[in-house]
């Protein structure tokens, strides 16, 4: 069928900020969809609150609203834009849920907007647990025994009938949010309550825990002619009970016979038809009993998902792009397969390699969080690796994780756990259990026993055993005695040179030399959707150790761009955004671009983005191999965050580093050299020192005077950064910090309390500097810049300070020798501007600044890197604007029970949103709303602040009173406020008896909580208030500046109106 001519304008809803369970993959799918729809001549209206996305680039959609994703705002946009259709299946669960609400509350009918891709009925059938269960029964598929409830009290009846363990799955949530596994009535009550709170329709399903069953997923595509294809079967190595997002997964399925696989395939097609997803991709999950092959349907996502992004990258089949084309009427046979060009997309990809995905966790950031894996997703990112053996893919994936491991083991990082410890970790679904399987094998524990403890199929454990055997085999030799065939065999099992060096008691470079002398080098094979049956036109490669390269590299002038690896806290989608922009810009400059990355969620690993794509770990060895294969002009390291920087110094001996040189990076990151540089320039910085042991640290800290800010050198995202107030805490901290980073010293800065933090992104070509944006942080210095909200342009700085900031930025960029981007952070107190740090690379805020100002910083930087000049490009600073943009951070606290939601120098946020308007208060309100916090217009506010904040809390309380809030406070705060004539009611702390503040929160008698943590470390009282606020979804604020901003927002909302305007119009205004 040809495309529909009766529609002109399509509305697409993005997935909002990056959160656990909903990450960069929806930027990948959304931008694919936008491009696909515009290619067909439709006008695309996009709404997404996340500025760090490619999809919100002004050239991706026709009209782009960076606005909060709420039904009211969507209705206003629909009213303005009058789209004829809404495509709900490409914006993750957020997009789907919003579309559902708009359909159910009549907005879509009112404005005559048609849902395409999936109709409301189909969405409900898939997402509503009861309807789904009934549908499965209707088509003769088994589902786990279960009960569906809408009240906590009903849970125990279901439990009595089914027995423990039980799995709790809320309806309409993502990443298993609010779900979990209960082993007893107490856990059941807790999880059910939380699940009901989080479910869009206040419904949860309690089902029998299929313990020991295997989990499979199929990615299914359907078109309007009812053609259905399966894109890829995926086998979860981790069994049922561990969320698929937290599981190690493998494509294709490994341990199913064709007979069994076809049963899953048949079932998937039946489900697709029964649920009635008309077009596009869906993900269907099954449980299979490994003892008898019994199959149960678990769930279906009637939309593209994280798994479909993975399946797209794993096979080369662009699910989102094709889903978009199907939604507007094409059938699968009318769409060409992009990879082969000559065959149609109506086929099932087949692959001739093994893909392994491993999730990346952030438990190091949340030591108090529970790090066992359950049905609620906890990972923050993932990596994918491709190889020709499972062992190879597994080890490549492990070294892609960037957790300091060079493979599964034998990389000098092994532990020596006791058998008891091993068994405990295996049984407890510990997130590091893949390493413990290796330890178990080394200790001689039988495969069958390991399989029983972990419920992991023996097939996988046997493969891990192959790795262990190879380690033992190699260990018998030395560098000069190891036979060539064994060296090659080890490489085919994915061993890195680092591991081989450890095993052969040699060095990485010696192994490399030896390999090359024996011609043991990787070859590069293509991901081509068809296992070689047709010629592939899209150069998408992976390495392996076999006979022959698929084809020689081109002779063109080319540049390698290193990506940022897995998303993690501190290094997220912002860096992928920068990489993609640098690729696009270098293409403009007529270079062939070669992208290297290991993260399947990203736009950078779309085969459409760069000219050539290598899906590889970003390690020295793997990158150098690509360099030797491609022979580029140079390599770009400044866009991928810390990942490429970490290997840039080593690589600089082998290949030119384009842009800022590694020495400049060292000059900025090495505290002593940086201090000297600032000193020479006459720029103040907080007094600081460096310490290599505890004694030195204490003497430095005493000399500087507490509080001090301490951190290990060379870290990203403020890992292990803390503000310390006394000797004892410092001692304790160092014991932990040194463990974090053994080779690096501890950096100690005098901490300037109550300073204003300002951040600058700037471009430099070695001669001139252009400042991209000056951001004023809302929270005071000391809160990690990635976690702080900020305003652009600054709202309270006077022009002298701004001039100083500009002047310092210019001086530092030139003195460092920056060519490209740099980010500098300042603390301002009493009109003195201190430099906190300078990073000569693209920063997290580059996309935000670019979206707010319209100046594409990363694109310009890429041009500077290849020798263009700012003057020649005629780049002008645009530091003033009529509008104000506010960035706010988004945190994973709801997903991580037991974690205290306070802000500190250590970054904890996973994503960001932007609010834009003509008034700071409204922009701030929008940013908060987009981040999930709906600031109340009026009502009851509760205040409990630490002593140092008491004075400032008066302004907050006054402001709130003016807005009509009644004020509640704990005793100390209440007395203080009354002294200033503010009417305040006293409320008990949790330690003082009942009813206390937590009771008020639970009873929904509080609308806003302002609670600043006291001193250092979470005190029990504040912690309980904050957790209660999170769990009961009451807006809470943990710093005074944020509370003041909230007051401003409230006042602004009283006076003004919320502007609704696409970003393209904001940019055109100047």
């Amino acid at each position: 069928m040809p495309k529909r001519e009766d529609i002109k304008k399509v509305l697409l809803i993005g997935s909002g900020p990056i959160i656990i369970g909903q990450a960069a993959e929806f930027d990948y799918s959304g931008s694919q969809a936008c491009k696909a729809l515009r290619e067909e001549g439709y006008t695309v209206v996009l709404v997404n609150s996340n500025p760090a996305t490619i999809m919100t680039d002004p050239e991706i959609a026709d009209r782009t609203y960076i606005e909060p994703l709420t039904p009211e705002i969507l209705e206003r946009i629909i009213d303005i834009e009058r789209p004829d259709t809404l495509l709900p299946t490409l914006g993750g669960q957020t997009g789907l849920n919003l579309a559902t609400i708009l359909a159910e509350n009549g907005v879509l009918d009112k404005y005559k907007v048609e849902l395409i891709g999936a109709k409301l009925e189909a969405i409900k059938k898939a997402e509503d647990r009861e309807l789904f269960r009934n549908s499965m029964t209707r088509i003769g598929l088994e589902v786990p025994k279960s009960g569906i409830i809408k009240k906590v009290e009903e849970a125990s009846d279901v439990a009595n009938e089914l027995g423990y363990p039980l799995v709790i799955r809320p309806s309409f949530t993502l990443g298993g949010t609010g779900g979990g596994i209960a082993h007893n009535i107490k856990e059941l009550g807790k999880i059910v309550k939380q699940g009901l709170d989080m479910s869009l329709i206040k419904q949860v399903l309690i089902e029998e825990g299929l313990i020991g069953w295997k989990e499979y997923e199929l990615e299914v595509m359907r078109d309007l002619a009812d053609n259905v294809v399966i894109v890829c079967p995926v086998e979860n190595m981790d069994p049922m009970g561990i969320h698929t997002g937290d599981s190690i997964t493998v494509a294709p399925a490994q341990t199913l016979t064709d007979l069994e696989y076809q049963k899953l395939r048949d079932a998937s097609i039946k489900i697709m038809r029964e649920i009635g997803v008309e077009t596009g991709g869906s993900n269907i999950q099954f449980a299979v009993n490994p003892r008898n092959g019994r199959i149960m349907a678990i769930e279906m996502n009637p939309r593209v998902s994280r798994s479909s992004a993975l399946a797209s990258k794993a096979t080369g089949f662009p699910i989102a792009k094709i889903a978009a084309k199907l939604a507007i009427g094409y059938t699968l046979d009318e769409i060409p397969n992009d990879i082969t060009k000559e065959t149609p997309a109506c086929f099932e990809p087949t692959i001739d390699y093994v893909v392994v995905k491993i999730p990346r966790f952030a438990f190091d950031k949340f030591p108090t969080g529970d790090n066992t894996l359950t049905t609620q997703m906890k990972s923050v990112g993932e990596v994918m690796a491709i190889g020709r053996t499972f062992e190879e893919s597994l080890q490549k994936a492990i070294r892609s994780l960037e957790i300091g491991r060079a493979g599964l083991g034998s990389d000098s990082k092994d532990l020596d756990p006791s058998i008891k410890e091993i068994i405990h970790k295996l049984r407890a679904n510990d997130h590091e259990r893949i390493f413990y399987i290796r330890y178990a094998i080394k200790k001689g524990i039988m495969i069958s026993k390991i399989a029983k403890l972990t419920n992991i199929d023996p097939w996988f454990i046997d493969k891990i055993k192959n790795i262990v055997h190879m380690e033992e085999e190699v260990k018998r030799y030395k560098l000069d005695t190891i036979p060539d065939h064994l060296l090659k065999e080890a490489k085919t099992l994915g061993f890195s040179d680092t591991q081989l060096a450890f095993l052969l008691k040699s060095r990485e470079d010696e192994i490399r030399q030896k390999r090359k002398s024996k011609i043991i080098s990787p070859v590069y094979k293509m991901v081509d959707t068809c296992a070689g049956e047709f010629e592939a036109k899209t150069p998408y490669y992976y390495s392996t150790y076999e006979e022959k390269n698929d084809g020689p590299p081109t002779e063109k002038k080319k540049i390698i761009i290193l990506g940022s690896g897995p998303n993690r806290i501190g290094q997220g989608i912002e860096f992928d955004y920068c990489c993609v922009h640098s690729v696009l810009s270098l293409k403009d400059e007529n270079y062939e671009t070669v992208m290297v990355n290991s993260n399947p969620e990203t736009v950078s690993t779309d085969y459409d983005t760069s000219d050539r794509l290598y899906f590889e770990p970003i390690t020295y060895e793997d990158v150098l191999n690509i360099v030797e294969n491609e022979r580029p002009e140079g390599i770009v390291v400044q866009f991928g965050g810390q990942t490429p920087l970490n290997i840039s110094k080593k690589l600089s001996h082998d290949v030119p580093i384009l842009g800022t040189k590694p020495d400049a990076i060292d000059k900025a990151e090495n505290r002593e050299r940086f201090a000297k540089l600032l000193n020479d320039l006459g720029i103040p910085q907080p007094e600081n020192g460096i310490a290599y042991n505890i004694e030195e640290a204490i003497s430095v800290a005493r000399k500087l005077g507490y509080p001090v800010l301490v951190r290990p050198s060379y870290v990203l995202g403020g890992r292990a950064m803390e503000i310390i107030y006394d000797d004892d805490t410092l001692k304790k901290y160092i014991a932990e910090a040194i463990e974090v980073s053994p080779k690096n010293p501890i950096l100690i800065d005098k901490f300037i309390e109550d300073a204003l933090e300002v951040e600058v992104d700037a471009l430099c070509d070695g001669e001139d500097v252009v400042i991209g944006g000056i951001m004023e942080h809302i929270e005071e210095a000391g809160v990690h810049s990635g976690d702080s909200a900020c305003a652009l342009p600054p709202i309270s700085l006077d022009s002298r300070v701004i001039d100083k900031v500009k002047n310092y930025t210019r001086k530092i960029a030139l003195a460092l020798g920056v060519v490209g981007l740099t980010n500098i952070q300042y603390a301002i107190k009493d009109n003195i501007v201190y430099v906190l740090e300078a990073n000569p690379r693209a920063s997290r805020t580059v996309p935000f600044v670019s979206k707010a100002s319209g100046l594409p910083l990363a694109k310009i930087a890429a041009k500077l890197i290849v020798g263009r000049k700012l003057r020649e490009l005629n780049i002008k600073e645009k530091l003033e604007s009529k509008h104000i943009a506010v960035k706010e951070a988004v945190f994973p606290f709801t997903k991580l029970p037991g974690v205290d939601p306070i802000l500190s120098p250590e970054m904890k946020s996973t994503g960001e949103v932007m609010g834009i308007d003509y008034n700071f208060g409204i922009a701030y309100y929008k940013a908060e709303l987009a981040a999930g916090m709906r600031l109340p217009a009026t009502g009851t506010a509760f205040l409990s602040v630490k002593d140092r904040d008491k004075a400032k809390s008066v302004d907050v309380a006054k402001g709130l009173t003016e807005l009509g809030f009644s004020i509640l406070a704990t005793k100390g705060t209440a007395e203080y406020l009354r002294n200033f004539g503010i009417e305040t009611k006293t409320l008990l702390k949790t330690t003082e008896g009942r009813p206390n503040i937590v009771d008020f929160i639970i009873n929904k008698e509080v609308d806003l909580i302002i609670n600043t943590p006291r001193g250092k470390g979470p005190r029990k009282d504040g912690y309980e208030i904050r957790r209660a606020a999170i769990e009961h979804n009451v807006p809470y604020i943990t710093t005074i500046p944020a509370a003041l901003a909230a007051v401003k927002a409230g006042k602004a909302l009283r006076k003004g109106t919320i502007t609704m305007k696409p970003i393209q119009e904001y940019h055109a205004e100047r």
């Binding site: 009812d226 341990t255 016979t257 064709d258 395939r265 094979k525 296992a531 070689g532």
Partner: protein
């Protein structure tokens, strides 16, 4: 054990041997299915060929006897990247190595199967020799290359008579219908698809004469799949020619090619064939596309169908080759793909429903 795979262009690839010791000769063909190696190995259509899987990890789920498509391994040799010696599946009865030993078939692992696949894609299917021996017994490379070049082309070998039943055989349980299958190497899955629909079968050898077929008074005659060049199977072609018009006729794979030849069309050898479980077939009647299993090295020449009374009902979406034919006036239809699956998708089971309609 040492192993070497030699191609007629002089390519020699070394690897590790498994299965039986010995020498296998035949053309090297690749199959792109990620599952179904047991079904493929036992599919009579692969007789005379050395089979290579493009998916690198083979043997993962072991071997289950129920999955056989005939009573033995039919390929002459097996080429894979990596052999799994410790399979994991509840139905597994033995591992792949033992399976090959049981039927005395040599296998090679540890070879760059993708390189070989790309070679076949560029140069076309080649004759090959697979040698699996202890080091001391391994023939020299020169000897192996020489032997490979000397071996006959697939079109010069009679393969059908080696895989079909030797004398007529009855399969059924007093069904509603009665059909004669002319066995050129029929797969168990075809028999199963017919019998579950209540069809009793007489399975007769490929060279069974038409009058004796008619003696069974069948409701229809079914021409099976099978190995090799269809043009060599002249007896069956003649039989079909006499049967068309007398009795409804249907066929699968080789069955389609033989039927076309019987009606005066021509067949040709594809460059490297279609072997896999992901081949898209478009049906012109419904406009629908189905994913099908295929295993064929020859195809029917489009243009030669003109004067035959046959029309094309389905085509392969990848290369446009003929996938389905029917006669304009007579009860006759056939498909090039394998609607019975085994291995592969079940999307085209409706072929058998259509066959049942023809019976009624």
């Amino acid at each position: 054990m040492k192993a070497a795979l030699v191609l007629e262009d002089g390519t020699v690839v070394e690897g590790c041997g498994f299965g039986a010791e010995g020498l296998a000769q035949g053309e090297l063909v690749f199959n792109t299915s990620m599952t179904g190696y047991v079904e493929a190995l036992t599919d009579p259509s692969y007789a005379g060929q050395i089979l290579m899987m493009t998916y690198p990890l083979i043997g993962n789920y072991g071997v289950c006897n129920e999955d056989y498509e005939s009573d033995r391994i039919q390929t002459k040799g097996f080429v894979i990247k990596h052999l799994c010696r410790h399979p994991s599946n509840w139905r597994s009865q033995k591992n792949l190595d033992h399976f090959l030993k049981e039927f005395n078939i040599p296998g090679i692992e540890g070879v760059d199967t993708r390189m070989l696949t790309l070679k076949a894609r560029v140069h076309g299917t080649m004759k090959a020799t697979l040698a699996v021996f202890k080091s001391k017994d391994m023939p020299s490379k020169e000897e192996l290359i020489e032997n490979t070049k000397k071996q006959p082309h697939i079109s010069e070998i009679n393969l059908v008579d080696k895989v079909c039943v030797k004398k007529p055989k009855f399969v059924g349980t007093q069904g509603k219908h009665h059909v004669v299958i002319i066995d050129c190497g029929v797969k168990n899955s075809i028999i199963r698809q017919l019998t579950v629909r209540g069809v009793d079968l007489h399975v007769v050898p490929y060279d069974f004469p038409a009058d004796k077929v008619m003696d069974y008074d069948p409701d229809a005659v079914f021409i099976s799949n099978g190995p090799g060049d269809p043009a060599r199977v002249t007896q069956t072609i003649q039989t079909i020619r006499s049967l068309v018009g007398e009795v409804p006729v249907a066929g699968i794979c080789l069955g389609l090619q033989l039927t076309s030849l019987a009606m005066g069309a021509k067949t040709f050898k594809l460059k490297f064939g279609h072997r896999g479980t992901n081949q898209p077939v478009k049906d012109f009647d419904t406009g629908r596309v189905f994913i099908s299993t295929q295993n064929h090295g020859f195809a029917v020449d489009d243009n030669s169908l003109k004067e035959t009374g046959l029309e094309i009902t389905q085509r392969n979406l990848n290369d446009g080759t003929v996938e389905g034919i029917q006669h304009k006036d007579l009860p006759l239809f056939a498909v090039q793909y394998h609607p019975e699956a085994g291995p592969g998708p079940h999307d085209t089971y409706f072929f058998f429903d259509r066959f049942m309609q023809m019976l009624e």
